[in-house]
Assembly symmetry: C2
Homo-oligomer: 135 residues x 2
Amino acid sequence: MFATNPGKQKGKFAFISKYKDLREILMDHKLAALGDAYVNFVYSLALSKRTGEPRGAKVDSHLLAEALKRARLRNFLPRGTDRHKQADAVEALLVYVWTQGLMTLEEGVDALSQHEETVGAFCSLLLASKERLHL
Amino acid sequence: MFATNPGKQKGKFAFISKYKDLREILMDHKLAALGDAYVNFVYSLALSKRTGEPRGAKVDSHLLAEALKRARLRNFLPRGTDRHKQADAVEALLVYVWTQGLMTLEEGVDALSQHEETVGAFCSLLLASKERLHL
């Protein structure tokens, strides 16, 4: 079972399942649906921070799929997984790490806002998230 | 100037302007753009909490406009303001209160998840948010 921080998150996210491995997280499409909202919010905050004014943005799924590949996480998914489901995998992992108290929203915003290029920003956030799973 | 909680939020949201009154917050469309991402995230979390499984959802702007009216905040906007801009006003106020540390994400989720009906949920969150401005 993955590292969690139960003191911080106990009962708060009772709707999140227990997962046996990374692949199971990456392939949970319900988790990805919540992750979509999370990713757009973190990205909007990072963009606001970088530009100095409030901004809202939806992250293009092609960019998330590209970030998954660059972070070498693409291979955890079955061959033939389409780009949309690759983007889902990114959303699922990022929100999972947040719900488990392994990365705060603020840390996510900071990680993203350090990069000008979206794919690089999400690649870096994915790598940090994967690392936190194994704390 | 509105109540803020600078100890908690200092420097964190430097991209948020100072506003002189409620109307100015409600009419800030840039703030609403960030607020759109915030509202979808809080709503998705509340829905996940209520249903017991991760969910993602976008809140219909008609429902937000209706909540604004029910919370008696519609009158702060000029006559003839369309529904889309009424929904923007809701998004702007809710994210403003969060950025100022006047309401946590968790409090927002709790407030929303207590209501089965979306308009009632947002009406209640709007009233609580307005109240926090004047702490």
